[in-house]
């Protein structure tokens, strides 16, 4: 298992001619919630995918003191770096239980009780086909499935997307709760209010570069940043 802070060092992601992430440096503190904000296409998802090894990148990713660049995705997952991808990506034709088992693939025993403790609603729907769950339930399943991998670092890509306010509140609670259990969170969000209320540190990406970084309250003190990047949210 890896441990310690995660450092991204001049990370670049290319998709053919598209330069999606342009040499960013991030430090993600162990045990904390770090959020990455930014407009559509800023490179947020690409950054998360680079951390789990799901896209090719240049530069370096270091966990604690260990560079993990040569490590394939499944090894990173085994080592506790787990991504809950954008758009949920649950397995629609499989049951809730099978989705959770797939999430626990790298672990000897699937701790299903853990998922049910966090999301009791999933227990009632254990044998339901995942594609027939409601949007909110699907998002809960996606997060629960990621938790089944027993992450040390949990990367959440827009968990609040398309959900009703009550469900978003529930998701926020869950994020706080799993962070309290010692899991380091990297949260990508369009919902800046939500993200800033949860985060210890925030990065704002713009066109593949870091446009601003700091503690949420510091960022919100700056009128320029608030207006330009945070949709004018108030503390």
């Amino acid at each position: 298992m890896l441990s310690g802070d995660i450092y991204l060092k001049s990370l670049n992601v290319f998709y053919g001619p598209v330069h999606a992430v342009k040499g960013i440096d991030l430090s993600i503190e162990e045990g904390k919630v770090t959020t990455i904000l930014g407009a559509n296409g800023a490179g947020k998802s690409s950054t998360l995918k680079a951390i789990v090894g799901g896209v090719n990148y240049t530069g370096s990713i270091v966990v604690g003191t260990v560079p993990i660049d040569g490590m394939p995705v499944h090894k990173r997952v085994e080592n506790g770096i787990v991504l809950c991808p954008e758009g949920r990506g649950i397995f629609y034709t499989m049951t809730v239980k099978e989705n959770l088992l797939a999430g626990a693939y790298t672990r000897k025993h699937a701790k299903l009780e853990l998922a049910f403790e966090i999301f009791p609603v999933l227990k009632e729907r254990i044998n339901q086909i995942a594609g027939t769950l409601s949007g909110g339930e699907q998002q809960m399943l996606a997060i629960a499935r990621a938790i089944m991998a027993e992450p040390k670092y949990l990367l959440l890509d827009e968990p609040s997307l398309g959900l009703a306010p009550v469900v978003i509140e529930k998701i926020a609670e869950v994020i706080r709760e799993i962070n309290k259990r010692g899991i380091t969170i990297i949260l990508v969000e369009q919902n800046t209010t939500l993200a800033l209320s949860l985060a210890h540190k925030a990065y704002i990406l713009e066109n593949g570069r870091v446009a601003a970084e700091g503690k949420p309250d510091e960022l919100m003190k700056s009128d320029v940043i608030r207006q330009k990047y945070l949709g004018g949210v108030r503390a």
Partner: protein, 292 residues
């Protein structure tokens, strides 16, 4: 009539076996393997050579043949297809065409075009049942095919439903990228699907060889019928493949007996067209609405 149906089911069970292999490779790797029949043909030649020329026991030769088939599937996927996966579907299809032609050429070069006799896997007099329903004749060969199909179907069902690796196979076939994020080694699953698929082709080769003889084109017909069966079944599920094959076998036999033998060949083409028009997702295809 009952005998016709039994014969149809026996042929159909072979189509089902072909279809199961095709569906496995297609579901997981997304590639329709045109070389499928020829891969099975090549392994059948090899087993014929091992047992009839070298003199190794038939059943040991068959086990060696299955191992060879699995390795051949793994190699073609790993070295022929995986490097170009990100390019396009079309380029992968062309590679399977290439493999089809190479294997045919090789077989002709090494073993010639003369038909070779393959030993019966199972011998004995047919089982005959008499009753108010008339007389039913069940050849040992049919029995072998039924037992093989039933065993494989049940094992496959248990495997995909109740084993960790089986669930991983389904996960990869549904969403390869996300399956990778679960820590599933997608490469291993791809290898498995091709090892399994080509083993099915080889199995069909061994079972059919005593009847059709070993020749470079021996599995062409089975490949076409297996493909039709898979289309009938929706190309997505193993259940679809199994029932698609059985239904096709029976329909084909009935057409042959009651309409005309000559119509049999164009029949499967007609079936594909009708099914695709009436049931675009196959008779067993699931239409599942995805919510966003």
């Amino acid at each position: 009539m009952i005998n016709q149906i039994l014969l149809g089911l026996s042929n159909g069970a072979m189509y089902s076996l072909v279809a199961i292999g095709l569906v496995m490779m297609y579901k997981v790797s997304g590639v329709m393997n045109f070389a499928y029949g020829n891969m099975g043909m090549f392994v059948t030649y090899l087993v014929w050579w091992l047992t009839s020329v070298i003199g190794i026991n038939l059943y040991i030769s068959i086990v060696l043949g299955i191992i060879f088939a699995a390795l051949m599937g793994i190699s073609v996927e790993r070295f022929g297809l995986r490097p170009i996966r990100h390019l396009s579907h079309g380029s992968m299809l062309i590679v399977t065409f290439g493999v089809l032609m190479i294997l045919e050429g090789l077989a002709v070069q090494i073993w010639g075009t003369e038909y070779k006799a393959f030993p019966e896997l199972i011998t004995g007099t047919p089982l005959v049942f008499k009753g108010d329903f008339g007389i039913i004749v069940l050849r040992r060969q049919d029995l072998l095919v039924f037992v093989t199909l039933t065993t494989i179907s049940i094992l496959l069902l248990l495997f995909t439903k109740y084993t960790k690796f089986g669930i991983a196979v389904r996960a990869v076939s549904e969403n390869e990228e996300v399956a990778g994020y679960m820590g599933i080694n997608v490469g291993t699953v791809l290898s498995f699907s091709w090892a399994f698929g080509v083993s099915m082709a080889a199995l069909v080769g061994f079972i059919s060889a005593p009847k059709v003889f070993v020749s470079p084109l021996m599995l062409l017909f089975y490949q076409i019928q297996g493909f039709t069966a898979a289309v009938l079944g929706g190309f997505e599920t193993f259940t679809g493949a199994v029932f698609g094959g059985l239904i096709l076998g029976v329909l084909e036999k009935l057409v042959e007996s009651y309409i005309s033998e000559g119509f049999k060949a164009s029949f499967s083409l007609a079936i594909i067209i009708v099914v695709l028009i009436l049931f675009p997702k196959g008779l067993f295809g699931k239409t599942l609405r995805r919510r966003v």
